[in-house]
């Protein structure tokens, strides 16, 4: 455990990392020489490799190419509120006209130039303050607010984090709620609680599109080195797995999530019972056994997944969760047969009728 822990704290190539700048977060797969576009910044990520999670890096302009930034690890950050020496403030805002264009002498081009020379929020905010006709008329309170707002815009630091379900759920919802069927973090937390998800038991999830958030959250709650299994049924050819992959579960854990197509697994359940039901114990002749082993080697991995899933369904499961775009009634009606008595069912749908 100890070795694993220290290993988990180091940022490595191949990791999925969360890059955070102020309140904004973005998921990034770290490859050698990879670049990340964060708002208007184009950032080379190489310098975070072998550093530690939770470290903070400064975005620095690269000498040759102004639009590119590299990252440099920092130990200290000075806030402009402290470094700026504000001499004068107004007592109210009676003299201020609410027109940014007029009150600010610097043009957008001027500011861009400043940015390209050196992304330094202290400097830029300082220049903005010095070139504002109205700053000294603002009240102390709104001066501070102004500085904070500008500082945020030109903030040159990012922090690197390991993805967690909390971070992913918040990030996905903020970026585009429709990509997770509108599941908010409070929805997600209650689905997990009312479904009684914990380290043991078998769970069936039907999910028609949460970017892998549901399967990731469930697998996370089933835990590592435990017995719980998840059958993740999806309607398409490929299942959505973004969040699941980002969590980088150990192999032992991610293998306990079986991804199957809803139609194809049910077809297997009804039409190919022989592939997963216990065969009667008859001594098979050697030749025949060899033959069946051969055919099973030729089976596609999705077929094997269907069979694995059907074996579990056949014994019934402890929990059924449906997060569906579709009208859920028919799906519930079909899947409820696999649920053990005295177990939990949770259906989530954003829209009301």
């Amino acid at each position: 455990m100890e070795i694993m822990d220290s290993d988990r704290n180091t940022i490595k190539i191949g990791d999925y990392v969360v890059v955070q700048r102020q309140g904004y977060t973005k998921l990034h797969k770290l490859k050698a020489h990879s670049k990340l576009i964060l708002g208007s910044f184009n950032i080379e990520m190489d310098n975070i490799v072998n550093e530690k999670y939770s470290d903070t890096f400064q975005m620095k302009n690269t000498p040759g190419n102004k639009k590119h930034y590299i990252l440099e690890k920092v130990q200290q950050i000075n806030s402009p509120v402290e470094t700026l020496n504000i001499e004068k403030s107004g007592s109210d805002n009676r003299h201020i006209t609410n027109d940014n264009e007029i009150s600010q002498v610097l043009t957008k081009e001027d500011i861009d130039k400043l940015k390209d020379e050196e992304l330094n929020s202290n400097n830029i905010v300082g220049q903005l303050v010095n070139n504002s006709k109205t700053f000294s008329m603002k009240t102390e309170y709104s001066q501070e607010k102004y500085i904070k707002k500008k500082e945020k815009k030109y903030f040159e630091y990012v922090q690197i984090k390991r993805p967690t379900i909390r971070i992913l759920a918040q990030m996905f919802y903020r970026q585009d709620p429709t990509k997770t069927l509108g599941i908010r973090i409070d929805d997600l937390s209650q689905i997990l609680a009312y479904a009684n998800i914990h380290s043991e038991g078998n769970v069936v999830l039907y999910d028609s599109g949460t970017s892998g958030l549901m399967s990731a959250a469930l697998m996370n709650a089933l835990g590592h080195s435990s017995t719980g299994q998840l059958i993740h049924m999806h309607p398409g050819n490929e299942c959505q797995r973004n969040a699941f992959i980002a969590m980088q579960f150990p192999k032992e854990q991610s293998e306990r999530c079986i991804n199957v197509n809803l139609y194809s697994v049910l077809r297997c359940f009804y039409q190919q019972k022989n592939t997963f039901q216990e065969q009667e114990e008859i001594e098979e002749p050697e030749a025949k056994r060899q033959k069946t082993e051969e055919t099973s080697a030729q089976k596609k991995s999705w077929q094997l997944d269907n069979e694995r899933a059907c074996k579990i369904l056949n014994e019934k499961v402890d929990c059924l969760i449906i997060t569906a775009k579709e009208h859920p009634v028919n799906i519930v009606k079909e899947l409820i047969q696999f649920l053990n008595g005295n177990r939990n069912l949770v259906v989530f749908r954003r829209t009301q009728k």
């Binding site: 939770s54 922090q159 043991e200 996370n220 080195s225 008595g341 177990r343």
Partner: protein, 327 residues
């Protein structure tokens, strides 16, 4: 013993949930006899609005099935932390499932996590925390009230959960969580009248690689003091929230439809008047008339790993100034 793992049959001594309707849920023990207040052994009979239930008869029945009562029937269910929360004997104010679920997700608790909690109170949250950390994690829960600490300990044992939880009787504001827990916790949860006093102790208990903290307080003044203490200690990602659960009522309604077409043309002779007002039948969801009650504010924060703490402290300084000015 019925809280640990999925069970099929009710065994002697199990806690069993008796479910009549969504608002009539009770917990009983599957024991033929219990000791009454006078110290005598008597039959364990539970009176429900639908007749008496002899709890001894439950032994051997299947969880999830119906049992006959003299004037109706009830479902007997295996307890979950959620069902326990709505049926447990109250010794204090308790935390309810909407808040509990948010706490577990926000604290990033999963199997294997080590969690520190104070105070234990009635153990409502503790049961959910134990479910989330087992089998290889652990809950350390602290309560300074002697009786409550002892009862909680007894309850965990009766529920078959002892191996996942340690109850300690201690004033955590004065004496902390103990050196043996230094640098062990992934998450700390505080439900105390003066949580800010426990913040320095929480930092010692949290792993040097960092962790999450939650403080639950009913009043905003407590939240402010706690936030300030957390900022000063170098916490980041601070967020205070409140979870409000509302119940929409689903109803069949007749919605009157106003038809204004007829005013455009002259009424034909003999046409019935009633066409002008029609009603449409619809199933609608009606929001609650009053706002749901306030339970408490939850403040969440991240303690950065040791190597990132000094930097975070310097970053927090401006916020601390701002808070100080506001006071």
């Amino acid at each position: 013993m019925s809280f640990d793992g999925y069970k099929t049959l009710i065994k002697e001594g199990d806690v069993v949930i008796v479910y009549l309707t969504p608002s009539q849920i009770y917990s009983v023990e599957a024991l033929p006899k219990i000791t009454n207040k006078k110290g005598n052994r008597v039959d364990n009979v539970f009176q429900t609005p639908y007749g008496a239930l002899r709890c001894g008869d439950l032994i051997g029945a299947r969880f999830g099935t119906k049992v006959q009562l003299s004037k109706g029937w009830a479902y007997v269910l295996q307890p979950t932390p959620e069902l326990w929360t709505v049926t447990l004997p109250h010794r204090t104010q308790i935390i309810y499932t909407p808040d509990i679920s948010m706490i577990i997700l926000q604290l990033e608790i999963s199997p294997g996590s080590v969690v520190v909690e104070s105070g234990t109170g009635s153990g409502s949250l503790s049961h959910a925390l134990i479910r989330a950390v087992k089998p290889h994690g652990h809950l350390h829960t602290f309560e300074f009230h002697e009786g409550r600490a002892a009862t909680a300990q007894e309850e965990f044992k009766q529920h078959g959960l002892s191996q996942y939880v340690t109850v300690r009787q201690r004033d955590v504001c004065e004496r902390g969580f103990g050196d043996e827990l230094n640098d062990t916790a992934d998450a700390v949860f505080l439900d105390l009248p003066h949580p800010w006093l426990a913040v320095p102790h929480a930092i010692r208990a949290l792993k040097s690689t960092g962790g999450r903290l939650c403080s639950f307080s009913p009043c905003i003044e407590q939240v402010q003091r706690t936030c300030l203490a957390l900022l000063k200690a170098g916490f980041q990602e601070m967020q205070t929230m409140e979870v409000l659960q509302t119940q929409w009522s689903v109803q069949q309604r007749n919605v009157p439809v106003v038809n204004l077409e007829f005013v455009r043309t002259e009424k034909a002779a003999g046409e019935a008047e009633k066409k002008e007002r029609e009603t449409a039948k619809a199933v609608v969801a009606v929001p609650p008339a009053s706002l749901p009650g306030h339970t408490g504010y939850m403040t969440f924060a991240t303690l950065p790993p040791l190597w990132a703490r000094t930097l975070q402290m310097s970053l927090n300084e401006t916020d601390i100034d701002a808070e100080g000015d506001a006071e």
